[in-house]
């Protein structure tokens, strides 16, 4: 093993004590740190700008509002002197469509992610994982177009069946809206957020320490028990954040919902088979008519509420993740 060479391996004269004092690294180090810190400062500034501008533009309209902003179902913003607008129906449609979408998408996404990481043989898992990643990038307008033009006729019979079976339940009550229902929007939203939740969950499941999984298997666990004891607990914070990211997207999704949802007039209904507008689709539908500051302000106020909503979702996700971290580390 040992080499017999006795040639000196440290031929060069080493730097003396003075060599230790070369402060050469400190200048570039400081510059690099400032670059990183400066970028962070810009990001912080962006958030402040968003907040300040939205609030300053929304405030005058909110102050002039003749109706209750949170509870009113009115929306008349054409006359600056008689502003009456409220977000109650927007809030309902936005939240219920996204929640239903989540309820459909999250279990399926977790199933697909587990399938791709622990069940599928590699030659199936790889191409499909790839496909799912690609689909995460399909633009939402394509989903909207497909939902409105292709999926709608297939969903209608299913809707009718639900209506006749569970019509006594307010969520499934029949309404006059035929095509562009909240229900259809939820299904399309679910399909839209499925790839992103799947892709993120798959990544976390894949990072489960092999040691944990082998420990479970070595104790005689079945594959499902191994997943339950090693994979799911490890991946939970990641999956929660993925789900919340999906929810945030669903809440803020604009164009797909705008394309699908029928705007409604007349009596309001809590039914999933009703139409309506979300915050985002309301703003999008008005995109070409931001002609007066007071009108624009009303829409910006609605946008602010949407912002708060998605922010709350993210904050909840963050709290959950931080709490879980204490257990997993």
């Amino acid at each position: 093993m040992a080499t017999t060479t006795s040639t000196p391996r440290v031929p060069d004269a080493p730097p003396g004590p003075e060599g230790l004092k070369q402060g050469l690294s400190r200048g570039p180090d400081r510059a690099f740190k400032m670059l990183a810190g400066g970028s962070s400062a810009v990001v912080v500034a962006l958030v402040v700008i968003v907040g300040v501008y939205l609030i300053s533009k929304a405030w005058p309209s909110l102050a002039a509002n003749g109706a209750s902003f949170l509870t009113s179902r009115e929306w008349s913003v054409a006359d600056p002197d008689a502003l009456r607008f409220g977000i109650a129906p927007l809030l309902w449609v936005t939240v219920i469509s996204s929640v239903v979408a989540m309820a459909i998408a999250v279990p399926v996404a977790i199933g697909v992610a587990l399938y791709l990481t622990h069940y599928a043989p590699p030659r199936v898992a790889k191409p499909f994982a790839y496909l799912v990643d690609l689909l995460a990038a399909v633009p939402s307008i394509v989903f909207g177009l497909w939902g409105a033009r292709v999926l709608m006729p297939y969903v209608q019979p299913f809707q009718d069946a639900l209506k006749s079976a569970f019509g006594w339940f307010p969520l499934f009550a029949p309404t006059a809206v035929q095509a562009g229902t909240i229900f259809l929007a939820s299904i399309v939203l679910a399909i839209m957020i499925l790839p992103i939740i799947t892709a993120l969950s798959r990544e976390v499941f894949r990072q489960t320490p092999v040691g944990h999984m082998e420990a479970a298997l070595a104790l005689g666990a079945t594959r499902w028990e191994m997943i339950r004891t090693a994979v799911l607990p490890f991946g939970r914070p990641g999956v929660v954040s993925a789900a919340m990211l999906g929810l945030g997207r669903a809440l803020g999704e604009t164009i797909a919902v705008t394309i699908i949802l029928s705007t409604t007039t007349g009596a309001f209904s809590w039914s999933l088979f009703f139409g309506g507008e979300t915050f985002a689709s309301k703003i999008a539908n008005a995109a070409s008519e931001f002609d007066s500051p007071s009108k624009t302000g009303a829409y910006i106020a609605a946008g602010l509420v949407l912002f708060l909503l998605t922010f709350a979702v993210n904050a909840i996700a963050r709290v959950i993740i931080d709490r879980r971290k204490g257990f997993t580390e």
Binding site: V43, P139, I141
Partner: protein, 313 residues
């Protein structure tokens, strides 16, 4: 396509079919009967979930490809605009919209990538304590910004306050708000995956911190960062909401980000989406397919770069 390739995988993925496995299982102790049933049920559920997910996704792709492909076969699609083409007319191209989408996305990336990557470096390599938590919190807020709100903000700033008009650069600005947080988060994740031992090994060689970051940490995380950037880019390229508010459609070619309306693929799709005339429908699906192709090309390019890089995860 999915049904045929799935059948063999069902058998291959289920270890319960192997008889030596069964024999060993009974050795594992009592109560294995119900445990095995649960294991089987779980296996079936996973496969079902996969099927449920794949069907609509493949269906969407099939719809777009089958409805849109013949538009893309015309050479004029890649070279012409829609100038002078009415709803009833077949033909015309999507060059104006492709150019707009690519230019807006490029400018967005040019601003977002350095900003996002350096912020992530700050958070992972330098930031600690309250300051870092504050920055991270702000990134969280940005992550939650719906695209329509980002668009409204830029509208409030660019148009209401500065009095500028709806131009391509305004679209890019709103897309920056959406792209920065995704890049910060994906880069942050990747940097965190770089083992601390590598940083320590580098420090122990007398390499300064910034060089350790540039030469050791970033190359190790490189493919992951690129994938994050491309996914972020793909996402903003498909964003439609900011375009509705800030980027009105035009049928003509406009290469100036600071003057005049600039077309983009999403607004081209949106333009004719309510039409049921054949010419308009074809154009819509053609634009949708083009958008998907560009996005996927980005995706595939990103993965190829990741594949050829020396990073071993």
């Amino acid at each position: 396509m999915s049904a045929t390739s799935l059948t063999p995988s069902l058998a291959a993925a289920d270890p319960g079919d192997a008889s030596p496995g069964d024999e060993l299982r009974t050795l594992n102790g009592g109560g294995s009967g119900s445990r095995r049933v649960k294991d089987r049920i779980a296996t079936v559920v996973m496969h079902l979930a996969f099927l449920v997910a794949v069907i609509p996704l493949v269906w969407i792709l099939w719809t777009v490809v089958s409805q849109g492909y013949h538009m893309l076969l015309e050479s004029t699609w890649w070279t012409n605009s829609q100038r002078g083409v009415t709803v009833r007319d077949f033909g015309g191209g999507a060059y104006h919209a492709m150019a707009g989408t690519v230019m807006q996305a490029a400018v967005t990336a040019l601003i977002s990538v350095p900003l996002g990557v350096f912020t992530a470096i700050y958070l992972v390599e330098y930031g600690r304590g309250r300051l870092a938590r504050a920055v991270s919190f702000m990134v969280d807020i940005l992550t939650g910004i719906p695209s329509i709100v980002a668009a409204l903000t830029v509208y409030a700033l660019w148009i209401s306050t500065f009095g500028f008009s709806r131009v391509g650069f305004a679209v890019s600005l709103s897309l920056v708000l959406l792209m920065v947080p995704t890049i910060v988060r994906s880069t942050e994740e990747m940097l965190k995956l770089v083992p601390n031992e590598l940083r320590e090994a580098s420090y122990a060689l007398g390499v300064p911190k910034w060089k350790t970051i540039v030469k050791i940490v970033l190359p190790t995380a490189f493919s992951g960062i690129i994938t994050g950037v491309l996914l972020g880019l793909a996402r903003v390229m498909g964003e439609t909401a900011p375009l509705l508010i800030l980027g009105p459609y035009t049928k003509s070619i406009n290469m100036d980000l600071f003057n005049g309306n600039m077309a983009s693929l999403p607004t081209m799709i949106n333009q004719d989406r309510t039409e049921f005339l054949d010419a308009a429908v074809q154009r819509t699906w053609g634009a949708a397919l083009t958008l998907i192709l560009i996005v996927m090309a980005l995706n595939i390019a990103g993965r190829a770069i990741g594949h050829f890089s020396k990073v071993k995860s």
